[in-house]
């Protein structure tokens, strides 16, 4: 049982403790050189136009005009400076601060955006639309990855996020249509997600079936059940069973008029606001409350938690159930906000992206939130790329979240470490 203590995030190993890893400085350095060469020296000659406000906004700001090559060089120099700072810290034996890679990533993505847009057939995009669209696409991902955080933190691997999203989407569409009330649909979606989770919990906790197997199989089961019911119930009588009312968009007065961030933060449906609340609540709950401490103890060292009188399996069961309910709400977004009816496989692998976001966000609610935003951005960029016609094939954009995750788990982008007892059933005694 020494592993749990020996593999604390800080202690990289007995001999490497003296010096921080070179990974961050080196990867930042390489990336900024890539940026300098591609975005700068071989940058496109056109000027990228990025519209900040939509027409008809209360406050209209002028569009950003960034010349492709010069802008690329300036941004690349900025990146180089950050890489140099990171290397400088390393020579002094210090770690790079946490914000550095995040700021670096934001600037890098912006440079990438300038490069893509300036190289496009039509070098103009709406920045506000791009970001707002990204957030919309990210909402289900955030809920899904929060579900994953809650499950994995308590020691149950949740591969079934996809199934929970799909179950939530289906139930939301069905119930909202039948009751003519989107909010009841939202609640029903949470219940459906929780139900899927309960199956996961019962099989993995009571019957000690391997959690990964249960998760994989549950995805197939939910896909089968929803597909079957779609074919037999929904498709023949769409009016009666598959025309859910939408969740209303509720803009907050004044605040939603702020350029750029207004439409993103303050012009959402209930589920959108719920997302921000959920991220905050889960973060505070996990890291600032007694409940969270217990949950993390169960996920890291169930024996110790048990010794202290925590009911390990009950904690796991209820956490997993709660996680499922959250993912169910995320699924409801598909049918109540994004699209106005259920279709087969509507979640389309988004559950696995949520899983990726959870890992990339290092099992932390806020990290998962940011990673979901990044992946939502990649999704949205991919569809916009098709419209403005860039040389970069959209498929490579689509691959990005998956590749990034592989790099993340392989330890090339920082170190991602799951909770120690994740995936391991707890047997008392």
């Amino acid at each position: 049982m020494t592993t749990a203590t020996a593999s604390k995030p800080g202690a990289a190993g007995p001999t490497t403790a003296a010096r921080p890893s070179l990974k961050v400085p080196v990867s930042l350095g390489v990336l900024s050189l890539v940026a300098l060469v591609f975005f700068g020296f071989f940058g496109p000659s056109k000027t990228a136009e990025m519209k900040v406000s939509e027409q008809g906004d209360a406050i209209v700001l002028p569009a950003l005009l960034i010349p492709g090559q010069a802008g690329g060089i300036v941004l690349a120099v900025l990146l180089l400076a950050m890489a140099a700072y990171s290397i400088y810290l390393w020579t002094k034996g210090e770690r790079s601060p946490k914000w550095l890679p995040i700021v670096f990533a934001v600037v890098f993505v912006f440079a990438l955006l300038v490069w893509i847009v300036a190289g496009a057939r039509e070098p103009s995009i709406s920045l506000a639309g791009l970001i707002a669209g990204s957030v919309t696409l990210a909402v289900p991902l955030v809920f899904g990855s929060l579900s994953g955080v809650l499950c994995e933190r308590v020691g149950v691997v949740n591969i079934a996020i996809e199934g929970q999203l799909l179950g939530g989407a289906f139930t939301a569409a069905l119930v909202a249509t039948v009751t003519h009330n989107a909010y009841i649909g939202l609640l029903a979606a949470a219940a459906a997600g929780a139900l899927v989770s309960m199956v996961l919990a019962v099989f993995s906790i009571k019957y000690l079936v391997n959690q990964i197997i249960v998760g994989v199989v549950l995805n197939v089961l939910v896909s089968g059940v929803t597909g079957f019911l779609f074919g037999t119930v929904m498709a023949p009588d769409k009016e009666l069973f598959n025309t859910p009312p939408r969740l209303d968009i509720l803009p907050i007065p004044v605040l939603s008029d702020i350029p750029l961030i207004g439409p993103i933060l303050f012009e959402q449906s209930v589920a959108g606001y719920l997302m921000y609340v959920a991220v905050a609540v889960v973060w505070v709950g996990l890291f600032k409350t007694r409940w969270g401490l217990r949950v993390r103890a169960v996920g890291e060292h169930p024996q110790a938690a048990d010794t202290l009188g925590i009911n390990v399996n009950a904690t796991r069961f209820w956490n997993v159930t709660l996680g499922g309910a959250i993912a169910g709400i995320g699924g409801a977004i598909f049918t109540l906000v994004t699209i106005d009816s259920f279709t087969k496989e509507i979640s389309g692998g988004r559950g696995f992206i949520a899983l990726a976001a959870l890992i990339f966000g290092r099992w932390n609610p806020i990290g998962a939130f940011l990673a979901s935003l990044l992946f939502g951005f990649a999704y949205n960029l991919q569809s916009i790329l098709g419209i403005i016609g860039t040389p970069v094939p959209s498929q490579f954009m689509a691959m990005l979240p998956y590749l990034v995750t592989i790099f993340a788990v392989a330890g090339l982008v920082g170190k991602s470490r799951p909770p120690a007892a994740s995936g391991i059933p707890y047997v008392k005694g």
């Binding site: 592993t3 007995p14 099989f203 089961l221 079957f228 692998g349 498929q395 689509a398």
Partner: protein, 443 residues
């Protein structure tokens, strides 16, 4: 997970001295305790010593019998789902207390009608005789190959969720060799097979390499690689090299006649690939049960720390297992493009890679078990098409039955308790987890 034990080594390979390696082993030993999840699925249940049991009880408690019961329960539940959407059943349920026989009659009718159609579409029907069985074997071929790949990895303690990606990559490479190169007959087919298998093996080896070198969890990596492969194929099918000339849809040219598996029985789609699958099953059986490498694979699966202590190169074994597993899935991809479909499309892998997981689980990760599980699920797939045409029952019911089967098989105590077969219920329920912990925990 193994991530932790390996990360320090992966972090700074140059600094791992001898003393560190000793610490590494110590860590790994503890890591083993934390890892019953990697216990081969085949050893998850049963074999907790019932020597003094009667023959009858041994049959009732045996894995095979539980598997049969699991299939039965899953079929009944699937039938109930079908019946629940049947209009006659719903109508007669309204007057259930007046005439319960009506309800039961319609219930039975709804449940059996679909399954009869399924059987007729997959095994035998009066009009065509046994020719549906040939279709079942055709559909089963890639399932068996990929199922073997998943099963082999399971036996070595690795979750290969990546059969889907391995199939896609192998189908892509195999198909390219099939339509772009024009070679003499026999040689061409061999080149197609080799290209495909190398593709699958490479895609699998990436996973093994990342797992062995950096400790990246294979489940995550395989899931992500599935999507990477999918988008890669999508991209390639939109390039001039892969797209059919004069066609705008993403579909490749037909493979040359010299590049496809010969037909086995005229009038059916059954091709040589099926015999290849049989040979592969025998080969995997030999590999696992008779060869040194296979013994090492199983040793790594049962207890990586002990295997390392015994002198097995765990890292090399991990890479090799994933490469072989990928190669086996690769045969499945080749069977798709060079046997069944004869063209490359975005949906060439369908759901085969995911079905393969359930196939391997149903087959309890043994080669012949996987073979017959592949045939069963092949029958489901082949019959479902007929079922949908005849009775209007959506194909998705197959997914439901398939996943229920696997869920029940994975939890024998549940199946036994459904049938009241748990003599010492408490004792048995406890015995199973202990066995799992004991084999997984290296103490």
């Amino acid at each position: 997970m193994t991530t932790k034990d390996n990360t320090p080594a992966g972090d700074s390979p140059e600094e791992t001295g001898n003393e560190v390696q000793a610490a590494d082993v110590a860590l790994d030993t503890a890591g083993g305790t934390l890892e019953p999840s990697l216990v081969p699925v085949s050893t998850q249940s049963g074999d907790t010593g019932h020597q003094q049991d009667t023959v009858l009880r041994r049959i009732v408690m045996g894995n095979g019998f539980v598997s049969l019961l699991a299939v039965f329960v899953a079929l009944v539940l699937g039938g109930l789902l079908i019946a629940s959407t049947d209009q006659n059943v719903a109508k007669s349920a309204g007057y259930f207390f007046a005439r319960p026989t009506d309800f039961l009659y319609y219930l039975w009718g709804a449940m059996t009608k679909s399954y009869v159609a399924l059987f007729q579409g997959s095994v035998f029907n009066p009009r065509q005789g046994f020719s549906p069985l040939l279709e079942t074997m055709t559909v089963a071929t890639p399932l068996i190959c990929a199922g073997l790949g998943v099963a082999l990895a399971f036996r070595a303690g690795l979750f290969n969720i990546g059969a889907q990606g391995q199939i896609i990559i192998s189908a892509t490479l195999g198909a390219y060799a099939g339509f772009a190169w024009h070679l003499p007959p026999v040689l061409h087919l061999i080149v197609v097979v080799v290209m495909g298998v190398i593709g699958g093996a490479a895609w699998g080896a990436i996973v093994g390499l990342l797992k062995a070198r950096t400790g990246a969890h294979e489940v995550i990596v395989t899931i992500m690689l599935n999507y990477v492969a999918l988008f890669l194929l999508d991209f390639l099918l939109n390039t001039a090299a892969f797209r059919r000339p004069g066609d705008n849809s993403p579909i490749s040219p037909r493979l040359d006649e010299s590049a496809v598996y010969p037909q086995l029985i005229p009038g059916s789609r059954l091709h040589l690939g099926f015999l290849v699958a049989v040979a592969l099953t025998a080969g995997v059986w030999w590999l696992l049960n008779r060869s040194t490498i296979g013994f090492e694979f199983r040793a790594v699966g049962a207890n990586p720390a002990a295997a390392r202590t015994a002198g097995v190169n765990v890292q090399a074994a991990t890479i090799l297992v994933m490469a072989v597993a990928g190669a086996l899935s690769g045969f499945g991809g080749v069977a798709q493009v060079a046997g069944t479909e004869k063209v490359l499309t975005g949906g060439v892998a369908a759901q085969i890679g995911f079905d393969a997981i359930t196939v391997a689980l149903l087959g309890r990760s043994t080669p012949w078990g996987t073979f017959f599980a592949g045939l069963l699920f092949g029958a489901f797939r082949a019959g479902a098409v007929q079922m949908q045409i005849q009775t209007g029952t959506p194909i998705d019911i197959v997914l439901v039955v398939q996943s229920l089967i696997v869920l029940f098989i994975a939890a024998p105590p549940l199946v036994r308790s459904i049938f009241g077969l748990n003599p010492g219920r408490k004792k048995r329920a406890k015995a199973a987890p202990k066995a799992a912990v004991a084999t997984g925990g290296a103490k």
